[in-house]
């Protein structure tokens, strides 16, 4: 599937299956492109390659065809379908779609049809996007490889022997494979950025509260955010402008208006202060570290100023996260009790029914995290674990705030390595958790961060560079992302020059 390598340069795509979302929408709105044709090219790619990739829990071919036909009819009638007119989109299967199964890749929700749409689903429909399917994930978004799905793993389209990352592995793979032009995932500790890095696409975790969580099945409510996967930075800005904004249905939604990111990326990085975290935890592979250095050089060459900063508590993020997220999960997942929705294992009394249902319905990793969280919250251990983790969370946020007095954005690796092989993290859950070491602190602080593909590492696999910013720092984060993307494309077009 070498042709699935994506680029936003105009010469790089020969079909609508690799065309940027912005170009598709412009073509459909202008009447030079039909939403139906765009969709059929994507459905063809799905027919050809989905069997080996398994990006989807559900492909909505008929639903999407009806939707695309309606968009074409609207254009013919002089009605503007919106800024995502005819853009095929895939949704992580933890976002509620009314009347369409939403499983969280868990047996406990298999077959469940939500009675309402998530706010992002409503916004995408209003913008003219065409929903092609619901994508696979680690069960309830708990994992970093999509190996924890109850319905089998997703494979990395760039190398089928390797994981796509996770937990939003299906959404990352769907974009990388050309099954959908763009997709949405959710990011609690890196679940958008890490799979984006491993699949060679752009992935954004917005500021906590930037995108409504209404209709996103809750994992860890103080950390979860929805964000886009795209083939290029401009499409990510386009998606963010559509899905962002205040929502009365989410009480944690930020009321302040959000500036257009499509407008922000028109500005360069001249004078932007890019921070290097000098006390960043070790552990990135040499190929990843090398690309990060090249990214600093590229931003400097584009006019940015590189400054050294310290975030001393960064390395404690893993511990704080793996106490806080499972604690919140143990509470959120208490709702799966076999009463109102999903699986029920019949038993003579309710208590036996609850336990039997949850044992049969939850996979191993989900049960492990529920137990870890229940333990961290239980009498006698609350102060030692959950209480202490909340204080470490404050330390991390304070350290970032100090760093952002000296730097506008920070640059780190997204993941410690390129895509790894199935089963390579073995039986030790901690080995998998370490994949999230660079992404987790952002979620604890509630800040935005995004991964941009930047060069390749071992085995020719893509490396992602992570850009971090302070609360509502999306405009400067996107400016840096656009500059990195330009540098990466220049390097691809002129390999000699970049090697010098």
């Amino acid at each position: 599937m070498s042709d699935s390598t994506r680029s936003s340069s105009n010469s790089a795509y020969s079909s609508a299956a690799a065309m940027p979302a912005g170009d598709i929408a412009a073509g459909v709105r202008g009447g030079t492109l039909r939403a139906t044709d765009v969709l059929e090219q994507h459905l063809l790619r799905i027919r050809e390659h989905e069997g080996e990739v398994h990006a989807f829990n559900l492909v909505l071919a008929d639903h999407a065809r009806a939707n695309a036909a309606q968009i074409d009819a609207d254009v013919a009638a002089g009605i503007d379908p919106g800024p995502l007119a005819g853009v095929p989109i895939a949704l992580k299967d933890n976002m509620c779609t009314r009347g369409i199964p939403t499983t969280c890749s868990s047996k406990i929700l298999q077959g469940w049809k939500p009675p309402y749409d998530a706010t992002v689903v409503t916004k995408l429909a209003a913008a003219g996007a065409v929903l092609v399917g619901k994508t696979n994930l680690d069960e309830f978004a708990m994992g970093s490889s999509t190996e924890n799905s109850a319905f089998g793993p997703t494979r990395n389209p760039l190398d089928l022997s390797r994981v796509p990352g996770g937990s939003s592995g299906g959404s990352a793979a769907a974009v990388a494979a050309g099954f959908a032009t763009v997709s949405l995932g959710s990011d609690t500790g890196g679940s958008i950025r890490q799979p984006a890095a491993l699949c060679g696409v752009v992935g954004v975790k917005p500021t906590y509260g930037y995108v409504s969580r209404y209709g996103l099945v809750a994992f860890a409510s103080s950390l979860d955010q929805i964000g886009p996967f795209t083939g290029n930075v401009r499409d990510a800005a386009l998606l963010m402008d559509v899905i962002g904004g205040h929502d009365a249905m989410d009480s944690t939604s930020i009321p302040e208006p959000q500036p257009s990111l499509l407008e922000a990326i028109e500005h360069g990085v001249e004078g932007l202060r890019v921070g290097r975290i000098t006390d960043l935890p070790q552990g990135a592979d040499p190929d990843v570290a090398e690309q990060l250095e090249r990214a600093f050089d590229a931003l400097q060459a584009a006019g940015a100023e590189i400054v050294d900063v310290q975030v001393p508590a960064f390395g404690y993020g893993l511990t704080a996260y793996y106490l806080i997220a499972p604690s919140e999960a143990s509470s959120n997942l208490a709702r799966y009790d076999g009463v109102r929705y999903g699986l029920r294992v019949d038993a003579p009394d309710t208590n036996t029914m609850y336990s039997a249902t949850r044992e049969a319905g939850f996979g191993e990793e989900v049960q492990r995290r529920i137990m870890l969280g229940t333990y961290a919250l239980s009498a006698g251990y609350y102060d030692a674990y959950y209480g202490k983790a909340l204080k470490v969370r404050r330390l991390i946020a304070d350290d970032f705030d100090k760093a952002y007095t000296r730097a506008d954005v920070l640059l780190t690796p997204t993941a410690p390595s390129v895509a790894f092989e199935f089963g390579s993290k073995g039986d030790d859950p901690l080995a998998m958790y370490l994949c999230d070491v660079y992404t987790i602190p952002t979620n604890l602080a509630g800040h935005p961060a995004m991964s941009v593909p930047f060069g390749t590492g071992q085995f020719g696999l893509p490396v992602g560079v992570q850009i971090l910013a302070g609360t509502l720092g999306e405009p400067r984060m996107f400016r840096a992302a656009a500059a990195l993307e330009r540098a990466a494309q220049a390097a691809t077009n002129n390999p000699q020059e970049s090697a010098a």
């Binding site: 906590y208 509260g209 009480s251 036996t352 044992e359 137990m371 909340l390 204080k391």
Partner: protein, 100 residues
């Protein structure tokens, strides 16, 4: 093995979390949780006495909406997704067992 969590603790936690833990999984789960808690001991070195806990990243207080009547979820649609329903309600087994 670490003393941070014992098999008896795990049995108690599983009961609190309404999970049936099988005897063959007990030893493995205890070892995995103990390994994690061992790793998480890194924060024991921090002086956190004067640090305020942080429960949410973007503090908002008194979040109100306009007092406008909106239509709630459709009852039949909601009940259609339930494992068992009867007379417009969720149907569950007896709260207390019938045996004995």
């Amino acid at each position: 093995m670490s003393e941070r969590i014992t098999a008896a603790d795990v049995v108690k936690v599983a009961k609190l979390a309404r999970l049936d833990i099988t005897p063959e999984n007990l030893e493995r789960t205890t070892a995995q949780l103990a390994g994690m808690l061992e790793h998480f001991a890194d924060i024991d070195a921090l002086d956190l006495d004067d640090i305020q806990p942080m429960t949410q990243p973007y503090p908002l207080t008194n979040v109100f909406r306009e007092d406008i009547v909106v239509i709630g979820l459709d009852r039949d649609e909601v009940l259609a997704a339930a494992p068992a329903a009867e007379d417009g309600r969720f149907r569950v087994p007896p709260i207390f067992g019938l045996e004995g």
